[in-house]
Structures are given as C-alpha cells and as structure tokens.
C-alpha cells in the first residue's frame, strides 16, 4: 500500500489555518487552556491541528503538557477554555473513533490475546466472520500468530504492547493516541515495535498522535514533529520529517537525513531546556 495522498501533501504551518484546507483536519485544538486547578495551568492558549492520516509526534521537556494534550483529545479531560474538536464536533468524552494505547498496555488480564484484540467489536454491528477475519489479519501483522489463545501474563512486555496496539488499531479509529507506548520495553524490542507500527499505519489509514521523550523515536516514526515549550510556552517548533520510503527500513535509522534531523531536534530541545 502506498501512503495516503493527504499525508504526502501536508503543507507548511500557515497552510493549516486556511479554511479551504479544513477538510484535511481531523483534530483541532483552538485556544485551549487546561489545568488541574484554575490557578495552575498546564496548557495556555494552545492551537494544534492534526491532519487526517498523519503521524504526528509531540516532543518536549517533562511537564510541558504532552500527555495532557493527548488526554484532552481522548476525551478524558475537558478544556477550561477553548475547544477541542474531532471532525468539527466538540469532543465530549472517550469514543471508539479515537483509540488510545497506554504505556501500561492496559490489557485485560482475564482475556486471551484474541479476546483482547476482538474486544472493541463487541460494541459494533459486525458479522462474526468479518470480526474473525480482521482479528486474524492484525494478529498476523503484529507477529502474534500462534499466541491467540495465550493470556497477557504468558507474554513478554513487547508482545503485550503488540496486543495493545492491535486491539486499538483493529477497530480502525480515525486517530490513534499513543502515550509513550514503548517506553517500558528494551531497545531491540522497541525498534521492532516501531517498525511494525509504521507498517500498521500504512495498512490502517488513521492518524497517529504519538508522545515520546526519545528524539530518535520521533524522527524515525513521524511525518511531523511538534516540540512544546516549557512554562506554558505553547508550540516551540513544528517540523516536517521527510525520510526516504519505505519508512520502516532499518537504514532510515543511520541515514544522513536521519542524523541531520536528530541533530537539529537535539539542539532545539537543548535550547528549550
């Protein structure tokens, strides 16, 4: 499968605010302020647009509000000011249209791999055959074949995270929100997971919002990286990443372009800290 046309035609920042382009936007944060109490804000007057099908990563120092943005879009929080919209409609709470992968994988320990992945279909009118087919396909895509009847506690950390990603992706959400999903696994496993995620992203056309601390991870995965400033500074940088396709090849981790992006981002991050 090739990349979706929308993703490859993402323009510059100014481009987003033009009304004729609003069809391409899936998620929009307009003038959003948020704090756990009114006296201590975490976000202030933040504007952020996410395009249909794009892979967007949020980078920034700890406490800059990356996870808060993700939680707002998921519908776990409501903004104190401003609007968070999905396809033009205000987000009122969690929905199956917006999948979430948690760092803790949040699998259901009492269900098998198959049951975990098929969980979302319980709430959709979809034939048993279709459900079975889709679950089997995604199990193959994330390399879990042969583990269908195992329980999460019988799997390694990396495998569990694969189940979590598959469970969220199989119901084809319009956007998948991932909060440091691979932070708890070892480096080798993490690289494998990143490559699988990119392949999945090609197959399932939804957008992905990814939160991480790792510059390498961000460069390898993303179409676009947003760096958040500290102290309610909002968006410090908005950078598009163009690495030669197919994106998931390991060579992309050592290419000159990759290193350039990494150095550039590293310096930008340093400047913020």
């Amino acid at each position: 499968m090739s990349q979706s046309p929308v993703r490859s035609s993402i323009g510059s920042l100014d481009h987003y605010s033009q009304p004729e382009d609003s069809l391409a936007e899936i998620i929009s944060l307009d003038n959003v302020s948020f704090g756990y109490s009114r006296k201590r804000l975490v976000l202030q007057d933040l504007d952020l647009k996410i395009q249909r099908g794009e892979f967007l990563t949020l980078l920034g120092p700890s406490g800059c509000g990356k996870s808060t943005i993700l939680n707002l879009i998921a519908g776990f929080y409501k903004p104190l000011l401003g609007a968070v919209t999905h396809g033009g409609e205000e987000i009122k709470g969690p929905s199956a249209r917006r999948g979430v992968v948690f760092q803790s994988n949040a699998l259901f320990d009492w269900m098998t791999v198959e049951q975990n992945i098929g969980f979302g279909f319980r709430f959709q009118s979809i034939s048993k055959y279709e459900k079975q087919k889709r679950v089997e396909t995604i199990i193959g895509l994330v390399g879990l074949r042969g583990n269908e009847r195992k329980y999460p506690y019988q799997l390694s950390g990396g495998m569990r995270q694969r189940v979590a990603v598959a469970r969220s992706m199989v119901v084809q959400p319009e956007i998948l929100l991932m909060d440091e999903p691979f932070a708890a696994v070892d480096v080798q496993t993490r690289e494998g997971l990143q490559e699988e995620l990119l392949k999945l992203h090609e197959q399932v056309a939804g957008a992905i919002l990814f939160v991480t601390h790792s510059i390498e991870e961000a460069v390898f995965l993303s179409d676009r990286i947003v760096i958040l400033d500290r102290n309610l500074g909002g968006i410090a940088h908005d950078i598009e990443i163009h690495l030669p396709g197919p994106r998931y090849t390991a060579m992309n981790r050592v290419s000159d372009e990759f290193n350039q992006y990494r150095t550039d981002l590293y310096l930008k991050m340093k400047a913020i800290e």
Partner: protein, 278 residues
Amino acid sequence: MQLKMANSEQVSAFKGQDLQTQALREKALLFCVAIAIPSLILILWELTTRMGWIDELFLPSLSGIVSEFLAMVRKGYAGTPLLSHVLGSLRRVFTAFGIGTVVGCLLGLLMGYYKYVRAAFYVVTEILRPIPPLAFITLFILWFGIGEVSKVLIILYAGALIVMLNTMAGVQSCPKDKILAAQTLGANDLAIFLYVILPAALPSIFTGMRVALSVDFGILVAAELLAGDLGIGYIIQDASTFFNVEGLFVGILMIGFFGVVSDFVLRVIASKVVHWQG
C-alpha cells in the same frame, strides 16, 4: 539459533548444583519439615499421655480420641447419628456462606462502583466492622428465635460483611487505565462493569470468600454452643458439660478438618477462575 546441549561428559564434570536442582532440593526439604514437625507433636502427645505424665483429664491420649470418634461413628452422639451432626453443621455453614457471599458481593460491587452508595453505607459499615459478630448473638435470638434462623443469620452476617468489604476493595483497585481503554474501544457502562470491573475484582472476592468461610466456621461453633441439640458445636458443648474430654477433642478436630478441606476446595476453584493472578 540452536542452543548448544552440554554433552554427558561435561555434565558429570560440572561441580556443584545448578539452580533448578537447588530449588527442587529446598522444596523437598521444606515439605519434610512441614510433615515432620506435626508428626513429632503427635508422637510426643501420645507418649506423654500414655506414660501418664499428664492427667488424661487435661489431655486425652490420641488413641483415646480415635476410639471415642469410632464409638461416635458407630453409636452416634446423644442419640443422633454422627453424620446428622456433621451434615447439620455443614448445612448451616454453607447455607449462610452461600447467601452471605451473594449478598456481600452485590453490596460490595455497588459500594465499589457507585460513590454515593459507598457514602450512604460508609458510617454504618465502619461502625459494624470492629464489632465481633458474636456480640449480636443474643440479640439475634431475641429477634429471630432460638431455632435455625438466628444461627444461620449470625453466620451469614459475619461472612457477608467480610465478602462485601473485600469486593468493594477489589472494585476500587481496578486500574483506571483498563476502564479508560474499554471506553475508547466503545464499551458502555454496563459492558465496563461486566467485562472489566467485575473480573478485576474477582481475586479480591475470592480472598474475601476464603476469609469469610474460616470465620463462618468459628461463628458456627459459637452459635451451636448456645442452643440446640444438633451439630458439631453441640457435641463440643455437650461433651464439655460431662467432662468428656475425648468427645471435646473429636468435635474440635472435626471443625479443623472441615475447615481445612473446604478452604482447600475454595483455593482450587479460585486458582482455576482467577488463573491470571500468579
């Protein structure tokens, strides 16, 4: 990659034990200790009583207890077959335990899930919690008569309270992210309750059931001590009155036996149902 197998020469040349063998050995040793110490106590017991070091009135001989037990099996106790006494007691315990578990579970689930239900019951449960159930026994007899009902109710109350508190704790311990994950997969409140919160609470529910069952056996004996002419508690009470120390011991050991067996059964069931809990 293929794992290299150590050849037999190498194996015999290895000095010391590998960790697996060590662990196995330790397990065997622990098992021996667990068996040896009670056996030793039994032998000492029989020795001291047979040699006449201790008056039989305080500690009857093991053989005396066994023959008293066999006599009870043959002739019954106080005109009632031993089996009727045993079944009578077990029926009381398990009726109370069964109903108590259901009631305790339902209340615990509601209290764990709905903050307002929890708030409504909070003061009452906190006051009731430290009161030993036996303190209510005469009150129960006053309210429900001296028959079967008050006996079962007092056991039921004691067990239900424990199951309820454990169930509530189990519901509250359900990780928030699992609930959120279910929501983002399209689950409504009922589905979250059935597929996420209830299974997450099951390990605590089983823990509560095990504690409740052992408490229930304790309350049973006390309830039967008070009134009636049937049950293991009655045997203990009646034997004490007549200084039948052997009979007293038979009653005590039977309670212990049924307590251990039913707890074992419950544990096996729990390990099958909540298999994901280590």
